[in-house]
C-alpha cells in the first residue's frame, strides 16, 4: 500500500509539471487553433537559462541561501521565456495567421528545431547538473517518502494555477482572452486589441513553461538541451486529455497523465505478466492521446471545439 501511495505522490508531482506546460498549449490553441510545437523547447530554455544563472551565482559564492538563488534563477528564466515566446509569435506565427493550416504547423516544427539546436550550441550536448543548493529533507509519510522539493513543486504549481484562473475569470485581460478565444472578430469589434491579447497569451504561457522547466530541472537534478521534446509531447497529450482550450481541463489532464504514467510504469509488468514492461512507459502518453482523440476528441472536460473554416 505504501508503494502505491509513493507512486501516487510521484504521479502528482510529475503531473503538476505537466499541467503547467499543458496550460501554455491549451491557451494558445484556444485562441489560435495552433499547436505550438515550440512550447516544449521554451520550457527547456527556461530550465537552461535558470541553471546558467544558478551556476553563476553558486560559483560567485555570494553566500545567498539556496532558495533565493533558485528564485533569482527562476525570475530570470521567466523573463527570458516571456521575451522568447513573444518573439516567436511575432516572427514565426503572426505572418502566417491567414495561411493554410499546414504552414504555421511546419513553421512551429522549424522553431522547435532551431531552439533545440541553439540551446545545444550555447550549452553543449552534455547533461547539466543542478547544484545541490536546495533543502533535501525527506519525510516519512504513511510509509512513503516525501521530499521537501516534492511538496514545494506541488504547492507552487497549485499557486500558479490558482493565479491563472483568477486572471482569466476575474480580470479585464482575462475577459478579453476568453472573448478572443470564442470569437476574435467580434471581440475586436468590441474594442479588444486582438494582437495584443494573443501576444499576452504567449507571454503568460511561456512564463508558466519557464516555471515548469525550472521545477523539472530542480526535481530531477538535471537539464539537457533535448529535455523539451518529450515534456512537450506529454504535456500536449495531457492538454488533449483534459480538453484542449479548457484551462481546468489542462490542469486535470496534466495531473491525470502524471498519475497514469507513474502507476502504469510501476504496475504494467505485473498486470501483463511480464510481457510488457516499463520499457513501454513512453508509449502510454501516446496511447492515451490516440484513444482520447479517437473516442472522445473533446477530452474529459471538453468544450465543443468550433470547426474553424
Amino acid at each position: 500500500m505504501d508503494i502505491f501511495l509513493q507512486q501516487i505522490i510521484n504521479g502528482l508531482v510529475l503531473g503538476s509539471i505537466y499541467a503547467l506546460i499543458a496550460l501554455g498549449y491549451t491557451m494558445v490553441y484556444g485562441i489560435l487553433q495552433l499547436i505550438n510545437f515550440a512550447h516544449g523547447e521554451v520550457t527547456m530554455m527556461g530550465a537552461m537559462i535558470a541553471l546558467a544563472v544558478i551556476h553563476a551565482l553558486v560559483e560567485m559564492q555570494t553566500g545567498l541561501p539556496g532558495s533565493l538563488i533558485l528564485l533569482t534563477g527562476m525570475s530570470v528564466a521567466i523573463l527570458g521565456c516571456m521575451a522568447l515566446g513573444f518573439t516567436i509569435e511575432r516572427i514565426a506565427y503572426r505572418p502566417l495567421r491567414n495561411a493554410p493550416r499546414l504552414a504555421p504547423l511546419i513553421t512551429a516544427i522549424g522553431v522547435s528545431i532551431v531552439l533545440q539546436n541553439v540551446a545545444m550550441l550555447i550549452w553543449g550536448r552534455q547533461y547539466i547538473a543542478f547544484p545541490p543548493i536546495l533543502p533535501s529533507g525527506r519525510h516519512a509519510f504513511f510509509g512513503a517518502t516525501l521530499t521537501d522539493l516534492q511538496i514545494f513543486i506541488f504547492l507552487l504549481s497549485c499557486l500558479v494555477m490558482t493565479g491563472l484562473v483568477w486572471l482569466t475569470q476575474k480580470t479585464r485581460l482575462g475577459r478579453a482572452m476568453r472573448a478572443t478565444a470564442e470569437a476574435p472578430q467580434i471581440a475586436s469589434l468590441m474594442g479588444v486589441n486582438v494582437n495584443q491579447v494573443i501576444g499576452l497569451t504567449f507571454i503568460i504561457g511561456s512564463a508558466l513553461a519557464a516555471v515548469a522547466g525550472v521545477m523539472d530541472a530542480a526535481y530531477y537534478g538535471i537539464a539537457h538541451y533535448y529535455m523539451g521534446f518529450n515534456l512537450g509531447l506529454k504535456a500536449f497529450s495531457a492538454a488533449v486529455l483534459g480538453g484542449i482550450g479548457n484551462l481546468k481541463g489542462a490542469m486535470l489532464g496534466g495531473l491525470l497523465l502524471g498519475l497514469l504514467e507513474s502507476v502504469g510504469a510501476g504496475y504494467i509488468g505485473d498486470l501483463t505478466g511480464g510481457f510488457l514492461g516499463s520499457n513501454y512507459q513512453d508509449v502510454f502518453a501516446f496511447f492515451v492521446l490516440i484513444l482520447v482523440l479517437v473516442f472522445r476528441p473533446n477530452g474529459l472536460l471538453g468544450q465543443q471545439v468550433v470547426e474553424r473554416p
Binding site: V114, V240, L293, V294
Partner: protein, 366 residues
C-alpha cells in the same frame, strides 16, 4: 549544334532533355567516382533511397494534404520485414523479389492501420497522432526482444542477405572488360530503376482521378465530400500508397546496408523527409527530388565547413554536424514565411499560395 537545337520543336526539345538526363544519370556514378571517390557513390545510393522516401511522403502530404510526422515508421516496417525474413535471425532466406513487394504490402497495411483512427482529425491533431504512431513503432521495434525475440531489440538485425538476382550478387564487385563495377554501382542502378518506377507511379497518380480526389480533399474536405468523393477511402488510399513506397525503400535499405537497428528510424528522420518535401516543393515531383538530393548531400557538404574552418582558423569553431539541424530548422521557417511553395513548385501550387497576395494587390490597385 546550336542551330539544331533552336530548330527543334518544343516536343523534340523535351525529348532531347529527357535523353540527356537519362544519359547523365547512367554515367553519373562513374563521374562521381572519378571526381570524388567511391564512398560518394555510396552516398548517391542513399540519395536515391531518400528520393523514393520523399516521393512516398509527397503522396500523403503533398497530394492529399495530410501532415504525417511518423512516416519513418513505414520505412522501418519495410526494412525489418526484409531483415527478419532474409537473415540468420529466423533462419529464413526469402529472395528479394518476394520480400520487396511483401515489405511494401506490410507497410501499406500499417499505413491503413495508422490512417483509420485519424480520419476525423484535422491537420494539427493528425500531425501529433502520426508522430505518436511513429514513436510507438520505434519503441516496439526496440523492445520486442523479450519474452519472445521478434526484432532482436536495440542490437538490431545484422548479416542480412544482400540483394541477388539469380547469380548476380549486388554486393560483389564485377569487372566488365577493364571497367570495375563495385557493389555501390550495382545498387545505384537498381535504386535508379526503382526510383524511376516510383516517379512513374507518382506521375500517373497525380493525373488520375485519385490524384484529383486527393487535391480536392486537400483544398476543402467538406466540398469534396459534397461532390461525392468517398473521403474516408481516398484518405486511407493516400496513407496506404505513401506507406508502401516507404516500405519498398525500407526493404532496399535493409538489403543494401546489411544491418538494421531501431536507431536509424527516429523522429528526426521523419522530420528530415518532411523537410525535403517542404523545401523542394510540396506536391511537385521534380521539386521533391531536388529537396531529397539537397538534404542528403548537405551533411557531407557541411563537413567541408569543418575542414575549411580548420584551414582558415586553425581549429574548428562550430562543429558542422551541430549546424546541420539548425540549418534545417531555419530553412523550414524561412521557406514557410517567404516561399511556402518550395524551391521548385508546381505552377498550380504557387498560384494557390500567392492567390491571397494577388487579391490584396488587385484590391489596392483598383
Amino acid at each position: 549544334m546550336i542551330c539544331c537545337i533552336s530548330l527543334m520543336s518544343q516536343k523534340q526539345k523535351a525529348w532531347a532533355s529527357a535523353i540527356l538526363l537519362l544519359a547523365l544519370l547512367l554515367v553519373l556514378p562513374f563521374l562521381v567516382e572519378l571526381g570524388l571517390g567511391r564512398s560518394w557513390v555510396r552516398l548517391l545510393d542513399f540519395v536515391l533511397l531518400y528520393v523514393m522516401l520523399a516521393l512516398g511522403l509527397n503522396i500523403v502530404v503533398g497530394y492529399a494534404g495530410l501532415l504525417d510526422l511518423g512516416y519513418v515508421a513505414f520505412y522501418a516496417v519495410g526494412a525489418y520485414t526484409y531483415a527478419l525474413l532474409a537473415s540468420p535471425h529466423f533462419g529464413l532466406h526469402l529472395p528479394f523479389w518476394i520480400l520487396l513487394p511483401l515489405g511494401a504490402v506490410v507497410a501499406g497495411f500499417f499505413g491503413v492501420l495508422l490512417g483509420a483512427p485519424t480520419l476525423r482529425l484535422r491537420g494539427d491533431y493528425l500531425a501529433i497522432v502520426t508522430l505518436g504512431f511513429g514513436e510507438i513503432i520505434r519503441i516496439f521495434l526496440n523492445n520486442l526482444n523479450a519474452p519472445v525475440n521478434i526484432t532482436n531489440g536495440p542490437q538490431g538485425v545484422s548479416l542480412i542477405d544482400p540483394i541477388q538476382i539469380g547469380a548476380f550478387d549486388f554486393h560483389q564487385t564485377h569487372t566488365i572488360g577493364s571497367v570495375v563495377i563495385s557493389s555501390a554501382f550495382n545498387y545505384y542502378y537498381l535504386f535508379l530503376g526503382m526510383a524511376a518506377l516510383v516517379v512513374f507511379v507518382g506521375l500517373r497518380l497525380q493525373d488520375s482521378r485519385i490524384g484529383r480526389a486527393w487535391a480536392a480533399i486537400r483544398e476543402d474536405e467538406l466540398a469534396a465530400a459534397a461532390t461525392g468523393i468517398n473521403t474516408r477511402n481516398i484518405k486511407l488510399l493516400a496513407f496506404a500508397m505513401g506507406a508502401s513506397f516507404g516500405g519498398l525503400s525500407g526493404g532496399l535499405f535493409a538489403g543494401f546496408q546489411g544491418f538494421v537497428s531501431p536507431e536509424s528510424f527516429s523522429l528526426i528522420e521523419s522530420v528530415m523527409i518532411l523537410c525535403m518535401i517542404v523545401l523542394g516543393g510540396m506536391g511537385n515531383i521534380p521539386g521533391v527530388i531536388l529537396g531529397a538530393i539537397l538534404l542528403t548531400v548537405l551533411p557531407e557538404a557541411l563537413r567541408y565547413l569543418g575542414v575549411w574552418q580548420m584551414n582558415l582558423l586553425g581549429h574548428v569553431w562550430v562543429e558542422p554536424s551541430d549546424l546541420r539541424m539548425l540549418v534545417f530548422g531555419v530553412s523550414l521557417i524561412l521557406v514557410m514565411l517567404y516561399r511556402p511553395e518550395g524551391l521548385l513548385p508546381s505552377r498550380q501550387r504557387r498560384r494557390e499560395l500567392h492567390f491571397a497576395d494577388k487579391e490584396i494587390k488587385s484590391e489596392r490597385d483598383s
